[in-house]
């Protein structure tokens, strides 16, 4: 035990208790310092606990909570914006598809209309041509017939003239024609 009236045992600023049954000079076991250390520890740790539990940690927890709220809010907003963008894209695609369908329809009807017009024109032209062809064929036929009858006359004339020159006397017209018919009849003239 320290002397009750000894001056504070400060030697070179160091607590130097005489070796006692509690400590034996080893500072951590110097029991005479325990009360003071406990007192300062209680004050310091009490202050720390008060500051942490009343000010610091609620503040930090608030910061983290605010950030969480803000993040989830931002994420919600982003999700909403994405949904809007998606629906806008759907609308656009639908409109595009409608327009394409419409364009295709217009093209189809136009093509069909043009085709039917062309067909009609072609048909009328063909009919026209067919009539003209028929007319022409008819003409050719009449002309051929005319020509054929003319050939008979010319041939008869020529034959008469030849016979007259050779014999000095004109043959009978009917005999000449009969002879011509005998020669020409088996092979009629091909017109076409």
């Amino acid at each position: 035990m320290a002397q009750p009236h000894a001056p504070a045992p400060l030697k070179e600023g160091i607590i130097h208790e005489p070796a006692s049954e509690h400590g034996g000079g080893f500072p951590p076991f110097e029991s005479s310092t325990f009360a003071a250390q406990t007192l300062w520890l209680a004050l310091a740790f009490g202050l720390l606990y008060y500051l942490m539990s009343k000010i610091a940690l609620p503040q930090i927890a608030g910061i983290l909570h605010d950030r969480q709220t803000r993040l989830s809010g931002d994420l919600d907003q982003a999700a909403r914006a994405k949904a809007e963008a998606d629906s806008a894209r759907d609308t656009y695609e639908r409109a595009l598809k409608d327009a394409q369908d419409k364009a295709k329809g217009i093209a189809q009807t136009t093509r069909e209309q043009l085709a039917s017009e062309a067909e009609t024109r072609r048909k009328s032209l063909e009919a026209d041509l067919a009539t003209k062809l028929a007319e022409a064929e008819g003409q050719i036929r009449t002309r051929t017939a005319t020509a054929m009858s003319s050939v008979r006359e010319v041939a008869a004339d020529a034959a008469t003239a030849i016979v007259e020159r050779l014999t000095g006397q004109a043959p009978e017209r009917g005999a000449v024609e009969a002879a011509y018919d005998r020669v020409a009849a088996p092979r009629p003239l091909s017109v076409h």
């Binding site: 035990m1 607590i15 500072p27 005479s32 325990f34 250390q37 520890l41 740790f45 500051l51 940690l57």
Partner: protein, 251 residues
């Protein structure tokens, strides 16, 4: 050799203001108390001043405070489970306090407050008293079920209860001695290895060996940094595990 080799000298308390004696007790404001309040001030600076702008995108100091808070919150939640949120301030205060005091001890010529058993024991006592008081307040006599694990055959119960009680009582002792002994041993080792350097230099030709203890001192310093952080974490984790008993005594 005039080199002071006493490795115990560093643990002596130096009174800055002395208030005399009360009986056997020497009441003084020592450098130890100064470091305690320095730690409190620094922690308050980090957790209150650095976060007062409440920035959504945190700066360096604010994000450090947030990291500590989330880390302790996670540790407490994992160890103590449901309902443990109310103990986060206590575990956070303990962790930061022990961490800062341990790290202060690593500054050359500074003092390691946690190398005094009375400090670590009082901190452990805070933990155990919290467990006991909260346990009885929340669960009444059910809290005593902590000492009777379920599924133990009847004849074994008395023995198990004695073992459980002894294990419970030894908790504050192991909690405080672990931290105290780690800090004390580390600082003694550091001091001894570092003391070899001037001792060898003063011993003439043996001075060429002095880089060896110097290198060892550097290595031990790195190790002690690790121990300083690790012991604070261990203290916080064990506190959470003990608090889990107060929250869920019937597990």
């Amino acid at each position: 050799m005039a080199v002071k080799m006493d490795p115990i000298h560093q643990f002596e308390l130096k009174p800055l203001v002395s208030f005399g004696h009360i009986g056997h007790q020497n009441i003084a404001f020592t450098q130890s108390a100064l470091y305690m309040f320095l730690a409190v001030g620094l922690i308050a600076l980090l957790t209150i001043w650095a976060t007062k702008s409440r920035a959504v995108v945190p700066g360096r100091a604010q994000s450090l405070a947030e990291v500590f808070y989330e880390f302790i919150g996670q540790t407490v939640h994992q160890s103590a489970g449901h309902g443990s949120e109310r103990f986060v301030p206590l575990v956070f205060s303990l962790f930061m306090f022990v961490l800062l005091l341990n790290l202060f001890g690593m500054i050359p010529y500074a003092f390691a407050v946690t190398s005094h058993i009375i400090v670590t024991f009082m901190l452990a006592l805070v933990v155990i008293l919290t467990v006991v008081i909260y346990g009885f307040m929340a669960h009444g006599t059910h809290f005593l079920g902590l000492f009777v694990p379920p599924g133990v055959p009847g004849w074994l119960k008395p023995l198990i209860v004695v073992i459980e009680v002894v294990s419970f009582i030894s908790r504050p002792i192991s909690l405080s001695v672990r931290l105290f002994a780690n800090m004390l041993a580390g600082h003694i080792a550091l001091k001894i290895f570092a003391g070899f350097v001037p001792a060898l230099l003063a011993a003439g030709v043996w001075g060429i060996l002095s880089p060896l203890p110097l290198a060892l001192s550097v290595a031990v310093t790195a190790l002690e940094m690790l121990v300083a952080v690790l012991q604070a974490y261990v203290f916080a984790t064990l506190t959470s595990i003990y608090l889990s008993d107060a929250l869920h005594p019937g597990h």
